[in-house]
């Protein structure tokens, strides 16, 4: 094949970090609140277009755009939870229909406001770095930032009081509330975190490739596979799952056929669901 292996591996390593960013948010919401947020992909899109709007339309620096890509999706996510999901969070069917419809609505609105043409978001850094035969500095930065954020989250969940409270809520709502943890607030935190992560991932995706109204779909679908593979609610599982799926995805697209994007991971998803539904690091749902 024409593509050198180092390029493909470098690309896979970087894209997997992005997928991990999206999947962690997805798994936080599902693991802690038990809500399957199908609007998570739309949050990715919102992040990308907030950055685009601030930097390209208003003309601010892309770093201001990055701030917007962090804040706007976090707010959107919080509003979605407070406004709609909290009222129906015990009804997974309603939640799925509602989040799916929200996703469609967001996509439609972005499509009508920004059009169907892919939008170009300027790079965070320009130039090349001579590692592994030359990588764009922007891609390296994206990779580094993603890992810094993932590391910070690890630290926050495992060592801060709030993080431990989130963990406790994910294990047992009743037990957590007995020791004075307000589960409602923990859910809100997970939604805000998930929104901010998805927004950043959207900005990164947009600056590596381009931003379009349907750009959130494939990260969402990949997140399904990653989260189920890694085990629902497990952050470590999501990161490892993201790397397995990311490599699988990049190699299929580079060496088999680019139109097969998503197919391999979907097949993995179905196989995992049938063979080992609790995933690599998941807790099994108890009766």
């Amino acid at each position: 094949m024409a593509l050198p292996l180092t390029d493909v591996v470098a690309n896979a390593v970087m894209m997997s970090a992005l997928y991990a960013l999206v999947a962690i948010g997805f798994t936080l919401i599902f693991g802690v609140g038990g809500v399957l947020n199908l609007a998570h992909g739309a949050t990715v899109t919102i992040g990308a277009f907030s950055a685009y709007y601030v930097s390209e339309v208003f003309g601010y620096s892309i770093w201001v755009g990055a701030l917007a890509a962090l804040l706007v999706p976090a707010l959107f996510s919080a509003a979605l939870y407070r406004g709609m999901i909290r009222r129906v969070e015990d009804d997974p069917i309603t939640v799925m229909i509602l989040t799916l419809v929200t996703a469609i609505a967001v996509e439609e609105i972005i499509k009508t406001v920004f059009g169907t043409q892919p939008a170009v978001i300027s790079s965070l850094l320009t130039g090349q770095v001579s590692i592994a035969g030359g990588i764009q500095a922007n891609n390296l930065l994206v990779f580094g930032l993603s890992w810094v954020i993932i590391g910070l989250l690890f630290f926050a969940i495992n060592y801060t009081k709030t993080g431990k409270a989130i963990l406790a809520t994910s294990m047992s709502t009743k037990g957590a509330s007995l020791v004075g943890i307000e589960s409602d607030r923990m859910y809100l935190y997970t939604w805000v975190l998930a929104g901010a992560f998805a927004g950043l991932a959207g900005l990164f995706l947009g600056s590596i490739q381009t931003a379009s109204w349907s750009m959130g779909r494939s990260p969402l679908v990949l997140s399904f596979s990653i989260v189920v593979l890694g085990g629902i609610g497990s952050i470590r599982g999501s990161v490892i799952g993201a790397y397995i799926i990311g490599f699988l995805e990049t190699f299929t697209m580079s060496y088999v056929d680019s139109s097969l994007s998503g197919l391999a991971s979907l097949v993995v998803l179905v196989l995992i669901l049938l063979a080992k539904p609790e995933g690599l690091f998941g807790r099994e749902f108890t009766e």
Partner: protein
């Protein structure tokens, strides 16, 4: 036995609600006649075509309702069956020259096999996991269609196969295919009503209520769920196959496979009344007709430059949510209860008065609570 089949089917001895239903069905069957009085010329013909398409959407909704509405196993990707029926039949017809009727039959068989393939493994999964698999199934199929665009035509679909009946002229075509659709609609309605009102239907309802209780009484829930899945898949596949052999539709992802198709069907069934078949049929037809009318409305949403027609799915979703909260049984059940109160024939409900939506939600709730609160 005085309660013979003939007396059961004698319209005069039926309860009022069923007489009304038959009357509505008769009115639907006579659409070409009264439509001709209301609208002159081509306008009337176009409306007849709208109703023809609506009947197909109604069939899709009934197909979903027969498995998800009765057993409580929510499928988020029923479009997969419509697409396999439709594409299978069209490809057999175009590629191998199989005559349309035989192609439709084979397409239905294909869809039934797909129902078995998805249904049997999915039985091992519970609640949201089953929904995830069914959500992903159409995505995989679409991905395959795009990958092998040379066979499946990718996002654009494939060209129209031969029509089921050869006709000449726009008017004749409209009338003939209206009655093709009507015949199929009545047939599917009759079969699904017969199945769901039979003892097997009671078992399916019992599975929705409490699967353990069904297993405890010596019945195998898996067997019944598989049966419901395959029945639903074949009905959906049959409707999809016939649909592509009409001039009103062609085998394209947007008409048979897109995610919006799966969601529309759910919205339609919940709107009309989950677990009633008749409600699903009504909901599907209403949704389809309303959508096509909405797309004719030239209004745009101020400030956004979006025409109201583009937001139809969103509008329906909002209406569905309101109905989920306000009338959890759907419009049909509400109508029946209101009607009974009106004529003073209200009696106690034997199932504790819970609607299928409530029962299904309860099932899901137990699943999640079980995971969280131990």
């Amino acid at each position: 036995m005085s309660d013979t089949l003939t007396s059961k089917l004698n319209p005069l001895s039926l309860p009022l609600r069923q007489q009304l239903g038959l009357l509505a069905l008769a009115l639907l069957g006579l659409t070409p006649f009264w439509m001709g009085f209301l609208y002159a010329g081509d306008q009337g013909l176009l409306h007849i075509r709208t109703i023809t398409i609506a009947m197909f959407i109604g069939m899709f909704a009934m197909s979903w309702d027969s498995v998800s509405g009765y057993t409580g196993q929510i499928s988020f990707g029923h479009a997969v069956f419509f697409a396999i029926g439709g594409y299978g039949s069209a490809l057999l017809n175009l590629g191998w020259g199989v005559p349309p009727v035989a192609a439709v039959a084979l397409g239905t068989v294909l869809a039934a096999v797909a129902g078995l393939l998805i249904g049997v493994p999915a039985l091992r999964l519970e609640g949201p996991y089953l929904s995830l698999v069914t959500l992903v199934a159409p995505l995989i199929l679409l991905q395959i269609f795009i990958f092998r665009s040379d066979v499946f035509g990718g996002e654009l679909g494939i060209s129209n196969p031969d029509p089921l009946v050869s006709t000449s002229g726009f008017a004749q075509e409209t009338y003939v295919f209206f009655y093709v659709a009507f015949a199929l609609f009545v047939a599917i309605l009759a079969v699904l009503l017969a199945v769901t009102r039979s003892d097997a239907g009671s078992v399916l309802t019992a599975i929705r209520e409490d699967e353990d209780a069904v297993a405890a009484s010596g019945l195998n829930p898996a067997k019944f769920k598989t049966f419901a899945f395959v029945l639903s898949a074949s009905v959906g596949g049959l409707a999809g196959a016939v649909f592509v052999h009409t001039p009103m539709a062609s085998p394209t992802p947007s008409q048979l496979l897109a995610q919006t198709v799966s969601i529309e069907v759910i919205i339609a069934a919940v709107l009309g009344g989950m677990g009633t078949i008749v409600g699903a049929a009504l909901g599907g037809m209403f949704l389809s007709v309303f959508r096509s009318q909405l797309s004719n409305v030239g209004l745009t949403v101020p400030g956004l430059d979006v025409s109201v027609g583009d937001l139809d799915l969103v509008i329906f979703a909002v209406v569905t949510l309101i109905i989920l909260f306000a009338l959890p049984g759907g419009v049909l059940r509400w109508g029946l209860v209101a009607g009974r109160k009106l004529i003073g024939a209200d009696s106690a409900a034997a199932d504790g008065g819970r609607t299928p939506v409530e029962q299904t939600l309860e099932k899901f709730r137990e699943f999640f609570r079980g995971g969280r609160d131990d």
